[in-house]
């Protein structure tokens, strides 16, 4: 055993002493919770390990990621993964302007009262602002912050209207990708490959021995762009 200082905390409703410096996930493992669900990247990126916690003396419950929140004396914490959310079925390729169809796909968006309870994002997304933009038809504006969303669903857990902002965001994100035409540089390259522009060079490479291949690669890499 080590000389690490122990702290007392409440973990999944159980008062328990754990060494200081652990994350919530590590504290769970250390105290015999065989946690597999709700564990993912352990880097604060995947959103699998959402937790709700009350710090000692604090008046307000906070939310975060169990692999990033370090336990402190008097902390009261539970895991909160997999909050139930309604997900719409849709086929983007059958829509001309998916942005304009948002009120049909997610009609609950119009029921958003702007209470801002959803602003608990561990990635600091201003979810309320995003929902406001979506409600008012500024879909491009609403899509912008969604790139930071890792679908943990904490925002949905707070919504009194049972809206799942993370799924609304995902719809908008996918819709946004379909609004642009195929990138010209990609289209050009696809045509070149289709037309066999590189075929002779590939044949040349295929016929080379090991040393020849190294020389070939050196030449290709050094050609001016």
């Amino acid at each position: 055993m080590s000389d690490k200082k122990l702290i007392t905390m409440e973990l999944e409703g159980r008062k328990i002493r754990v060494p200081e410096g652990l994350t919530v996930i590590e504290a769970l493992w250390d105290t015999g919770h065989d946690v597999k669900r709700g564990i993912g990247c352990l880097s604060g990126l995947c959103g699998a390990c959402t937790v709700a916690y009350l710090e000692k003396g604090a008046g307000k419950v906070r939310f975060g990621l169990g692999c990033q929140v370090v336990v402190t004396e008097g902390l009261n914490v539970i895991m909160l993964p997999y909050f139930p959310s309604r997900v719409a079925a849709y086929r983007l390729e059958e829509m001309d302007d998916p942005y304009s169809r948002l009120p049909e796909v997610y009609p609950e968006v119009t029921g958003c009262t702007g209470c801002r309870a959803c602003n608990v994002c561990p990635e600091w997304i201003n979810v309320a602002e995003m929902m406001k933009k979506a409600r008012e038809g500024d879909c491009a504006g609403a899509t912008e912050p969604v790139m930071d969303c890792h679908m943990c669903g904490l925002c949905a857990s707070r919504c009194p209207q049972s809206i799942a902002p993370h799924y609304v965001g995902l719809y908008l994100q996918r819709a946004s990708a379909r609004r642009y035409p195929i990138p010209p540089n990609l289209e050009e390259r696809l045509a070149q490959i289709r037309d066999g522009v590189y075929r002779a060079k590939w044949d040349e490479a295929d016929a080379l021995d090991e040393e020849g291949l190294k020389e070939f690669c050196r030449r290709v890499r050094e050609e001016p762009a």
Binding site: G21, G40, H150, M151, N185, L186, Y198, V220
Partner: protein, 531 residues
């Protein structure tokens, strides 16, 4: 927040920044690079490896950690596993990361029945942790040939030519598919795909979505899976053994239901193994950037079934893994930071390597610097060097970090470290399994009916993977494996059995090997090294 002793050392980083900006650190010559790798790269540390005594790669070198798993009896009691399949399907996909999901989507498109089984939640994988981006030669100044040459060179010409060619030629098509599916890659003002440079690449070729590229692709693909009701998903059910028929073809797998603690036998016409890499085996005691589930299960399952592996003595140590604070050790700092010009700085405030060398060389240079006494040691006993990120604000203008590295900025603001003003302490972190189960251009292994895609597969990246090629290869070979596996759906899979395991164990017994291991590992043992 940094403690006082580190803050004092950071003052040296701040004080030397202006001088360093004027400095040009020369690139290594080929001979210098070879010498550096030989002396300092973990792949060349002979005592960490041994020669396999059994199986298709008998006589070849791999890490002790992998050899321990392969040269032992698994703790699964095969007599307790029901041999009557609980599920019959056309294609069984094992793994719910980018490669598995892609294989499932393409197999499903052909009309095949698909069951995708995954150890954790669908999508929980190293794919979502791919920060920097994905390679595809779409720029005018670039070409698939250049991509080919860069990839082979980065891999020290140990990668297989036909696999590399397949990957680079498919790349633009894969990008088109992702765009059509609703992946919003960053664009420039003229609507072209925006491109970044990467270490060791001869052209700008990295596509990205902010600094959350893999995550945003995975979100979309996972969502896309919902639409196909022929694809069934089974979460929290890792595969613990493959099954074969009397002809030695792979025809299913045994899954372990983590909740019910029961075995489920699945029979299939073909199996796609896409369970990722092995960072959580912590080779040589290195920290890892990998997901909780990356325990090398695919190697164990496939090797016992008789599949050849290749290059399992080569791993990628990403140069910039976090060393402080303690609870973030091993987490990756994206290579894009170095691509843009951030400096690696020793305890004296000096640069010691050109930051745009390939990952293996930069990692070796950091290890050398720390062994030579140029490192910074934390109270937690870890040693690293500084990654001077604030310098980017001077090169590219104030605000660039908050704008282009939003995720990284937040990640460290949570622990009160402001990357706009503070460098990060870093050291190489175990990042990628360069080798794996040998595949052909359709992802099939030397075992008929067994396909492999993604990090589990080998033969492609040689001895060092270039940045952005793993995010690409999971889609290229996930697609090919999914389609090729689905083409087997007219075949008779035969009865499921463990003949291959009995044969394999017979050979272990003949060698007087009696050790038992938990193999596949499934989950890393929890060791809190802070205790």
């Amino acid at each position: 927040m940094y403690p006082e002793d580190l803050c004092r050392l950071i003052e040296r980083v701040d004080a030397t920044r202006a001088e360093r900006l004027k400095q040009d650190v020369p690139r290594l010559t080929e001979a210098e690079q070879a010498d550096l790798l030989k002396k300092y790269h973990p792949d060349y540390k002979d005592c960490a490896f041994r020669t396999l005594r059994v199986g298709p790669n008998k006589g070849e070198r791999t890490t002790h950690e992998i050899a321990d798993l392969l040269e032992s009896f698994g703790d699964l009691d095969h007599s307790k596993v029901p041999l009557t399949p609980a599920f019959d399907t056309d294609v069984l996909v094992l793994g719910g990361g980018g490669a598995g999901v892609t294989a499932a989507l393409f197999a499903g498109q052909t009309g095949a029945r698909v069951l995708l089984a995954t150890k954790l939640r669908l999508g929980n994988s190293n794919t979502i942790m791919a920060l920097g981006g994905m390679q595809a030669s779409v720029d005018r100044a670039d070409s698939p040939l250049r991509h080919f040459a860069d990839t082979l060179s980065a891999g020290k010409f140990a990668g297989r030519q036909e696999l590399v060619r397949t990957m680079v030629e498919d790349a633009p098509e894969v990008v088109k598919w992702l765009l059509d599916t609703g992946v919003n890659f960053d664009r420039d003002s003229s609507g072209n795909l925006a491109l970044k440079k990467g270490g060791g690449l001869s052209a700008a070729r990295i596509l990205s979505i902010g600094d959350h590229t893999g995550l945003n692709i995975m979100k979309v693909l996972k969502d896309e899976l919902r639409r196909d009701d022929k694809i069934e998903i089974s979460e929290f059910t890792p595969a613990v053994e493959l099954t074969t028929n009397e002809r030695g073809q792979c025809n299913g797998a045994v899954l372990f239901d983590l909740g019910r603690r029961r075995f489920i036998t699945v029979r299939a016409k073909a199996v796609v193994l896409a369970t990722g890499g092995s960072g959580r085996l912590h080779f040589q005691g290195f920290p890892t950037s990998n997901n909780f589930g990356a325990t090398g299960d695919a190697i164990v399952l496939a090797y016992r079934a008789g599949a050849r592996v290749e290059g399992l003595d080569s791993f990628q140590y990403h140069p910039t893994g976090v060393m402080f604070p303690d609870h973030m050790v091993g987490i990756l700092v994206t290579e894009a930071i170095r691509s843009l010009g951030a400096h690696l700085v020793n305890v004296r405030g000096e640069r010691f390597v050109n930051e745009l060398e390939t990952r293996d060389a930069v990692a070796a240079a950091i290890i050398r610097e720390c062994e030579r006494g140029g490192g910074v040691t934390t109270a937690g006993g870890r040693t690293g060097v500084w990654l001077d990120i604030p310098v980017l604000e001077q090169i590219h203008g104030a605000g660039v970090l908050r704008q282009r590295f939003r995720a990284l900025f937040r990640q460290f603001m949570r622990v009160s470290i402001n990357i706009v003003r503070r460098p990060l302490l870093i050291y190489p972190t175990l990042h990628y399994q360069n080798g794996g189960i040998l595949i052909d251009v359709n992802g099939e292994t030397s075992v008929p009916g067994l396909f492999v895609a993604g990090e589990a597969a080998g033969g492609l990246h040689g001895r060092n993977r270039a940045m952005g090629n793993s995010l690409l290869d999971i889609f290229v070979f996930g697609r090919r494996a999914g389609v090729a596996a689905a083409l087997r759906r007219g075949e008779n899979p035969g009865a499921v059995g463990f003949g291959h395991v009995h044969d394999y164990y017979e050979r272990l017994r003949a060698l007087r090997i009696s050790s038992i291991s938990k193999s596949p590992t499934l989950f890393p043992d929890f060791i809190v090294d802070k205790l």
